[in-house]
Symmetry: C2
Subunit: 339 residues, 2 copies
DNA sequence: CTGTTAGCGCCTTCAC
DNA sequence: GTGAAGGCGCTAACAG
């Protein structure tokens, strides 16, 4: 029985009052006799009334919708972030509208248009390499923006991120302390600041230890296959340079590290006896690998929560140009058996 | 510069025509002089016009939005499905509005209300244990519904799913053929039909082989920790019954299998020499584990695509009660080194 | 080919 | 306390 929508008019008629009265009753606004209010509320319940957020949005110009841009749904890092954003949003009466862009600049524009068209109250962008043109596009919408882990073009945006450089340094300090010397970096050619920060941490740490940062190999992406590809390139390169495999591989993230471990296993190299491996992010599966993966834990969920908190504070403001907010979350080194 | 929205009225004024004319020009509808149309289009471009899908939705009663319900964003299975739905949706001019419910019945209702309020044109529900009351709630909205992998209460809904029973049988046939005899089932207490089908496949296959289905242990959920918990319970139970570990563990899904493998490793049991392990789904990481996991590949992405296709066909209909559509996708056994 | 009028469902003044 | 208007931005019907 695809029943027709019931509107406040229908309720008004049934209750013998006018629509505005119903509207007020439903929102608990304006003083009115408890009796009428009660009757209206009951009627609304009975008739199965659901307010049209569309109509409401049209008049109030607020959709109670937050647009969330991610690169892909198929990434364990993003997902936790999304979950965090959603929880915090719901807690405050907002819905989230998630869209993935892939690595497609055209699609990025489409998403922004769609967000604008649907009048989202705010936009959160997660882990994108926000280029300057994209940044301009976002800015032009006049909609509040919060960036997660992507302040590459971000000196002008509100942002929540973790400190990749510090994290990378902790990973490296751990490896050096354990006596590893031929440490290679496995990079992600597709990542922006996150990668350069981690790369730099690797480089600086080696130099500070009086070693040379000799071997950095990049995979085409930060996924499993990217880790495999990069490792397959790394091993011969290391042999050429050192006459041996690296004694440790510092990977851009856990996912690439898993790919790297698979290649090492396949080559008969033991982890960590022959080669140590470290990841980054501490995705769920990291603790369950064989051997369990040493990594740097990122508060992914919290990242989403705080991004939404910043957004809420922005939405509460009347000031169209509130001072820039930047939050940096601190992760922690998690040492497991892979190093 | 949070510029004010420009509306078709603004354009109309600038172009010296009436709004409806602008509306028509923008939608390429109604014949009109190429000149005026051209001028209007240029003006719209210049002024940075973005149509208000909110207003449009209010009058057309179509939002071009598809609501998608999942249980959690943090699940590698769902994510591929979502990605598939999104791609197909975008290809046809729809956006998707994803909401996660967790295992919270209250939240399920909220989501439906939100979807109704935002006037989604259709609802796709993925991998939920759609209970009867929830089913009723969905039905009452009068919005077209498509279920993915959750036709538990689904004799009345359109659905796209894979055949868990057949898949389970293939897994079991493989194990039996390899000579495994003490095969345990590691179940997910929280899953609905997917679990019962796989469980049944395990049971029937053993009996058909003249063996008894003796040991099925359930984890509290289908996640890593669920796999760990169940396996920790399984080993002593097996020892009690057989005086030895099972020689194979047939897991509800890959994620639980990873948890199981971690426990086996920790106990010094070799895979597959001491205990074989099989999963289900073929999530990305399955091929990269040590040892790589034997599993049953599910066309997760395709599942999403086809669900959206069914939805599109429904939206194209005028018939309020189109004949029920059910699509069953076929997966395939992927034998790797864990068995 | 274009303008006028009306209304989607709701909220927000304002009178009463 | 409540009702009567007006309008959010857009499309649909009908004039002209």
């Amino acid at each position: 029985m695809p029943q027709k929508r019931v509107s406040i008019k229908d309720i008004a008629e049934a209750a013998g009052v006018s629509h505005p009265t119903v509207s007020r009753a439903l929102r608990g606004e304006g003083r009115m006799s408890d009796e009428t209010r009660q009757r209206i509320l009951e009627l609304a319940q009975e008739m199965g009334y659901t307010p049209s957020l569309v109509a409401r949005g049209l008049v109030t110009q607020r959709s109670h919708l937050i647009g969330l841009v991610i690169t892909t749904f198929a990434d364990p890092f993003h997902n936790e972030v999304v979950q965090g954003v959603e929880e915090e949003a719901i807690r405050h009466g907002y819905d989230i509208f998630v869209a993935s862009t892939g690595v497609n600049a055209e699609r990025e524009k489409e998403v922004v248009r769609s967000f604008q068209g649907r009048q989202v109250d705010g936009i959160i962008v997660s882990s994108s390499r926000v280029g300057d043109d994209y940044a301009d596009l976002l800015q032009e919408t006049g909609i509040p923006i919060v960036l997660i882990n992507s302040h590459i073009a971000g000196s002008r945006f509100h942002a929540v991120h973790h400190d990749d450089y510090a994290g990378g340094c902790q990973i490296m300090a751990h490896l050096l302390e354990r006596g590893y010397r031929r440490i290679a970096y496995l990079g992600n050619a597709r990542a922006g600041k996150a990668n350069t920060d981690r790369h730099r941490a690797w480089e600086d740490s080696l130099q500070a230890a009086g070693l040379e940062a000799e071997l950095a190999i990049y995979g085409p992406n930060g996924r499993l296959a990217g880790g495999v590809r990069a490792t397959e390139a790394l091993l011969p390169a290391a042999r050429e340079r050192w006459g041996a495999p690296p004694d440790a591989i510092c990977c851009y993230n856990d996912t690439m590290a898993i790919g790297a471990m698979a290649v090492l296993h396949r080559c008969g190299l033991r982890i960590p006896d022959d080669v140590a491996v470290t990841g980054f992010d501490d995705i769920d599966v990291a603790a369950y690998l064989e051997p369990p993966l040493t990594t740097f834990h990122q508060p992914r969920h919290q990242l989403g929560v705080e991004a939404m908190q910043v957004m809420l504070s922005l939405l509460g403001q009347t000031n169209p140009h509130p001072p820039r907010q930047v939050r940096t979350l601190i992760g922690r080194l998690v040492v497991r058996r892979s190093s």
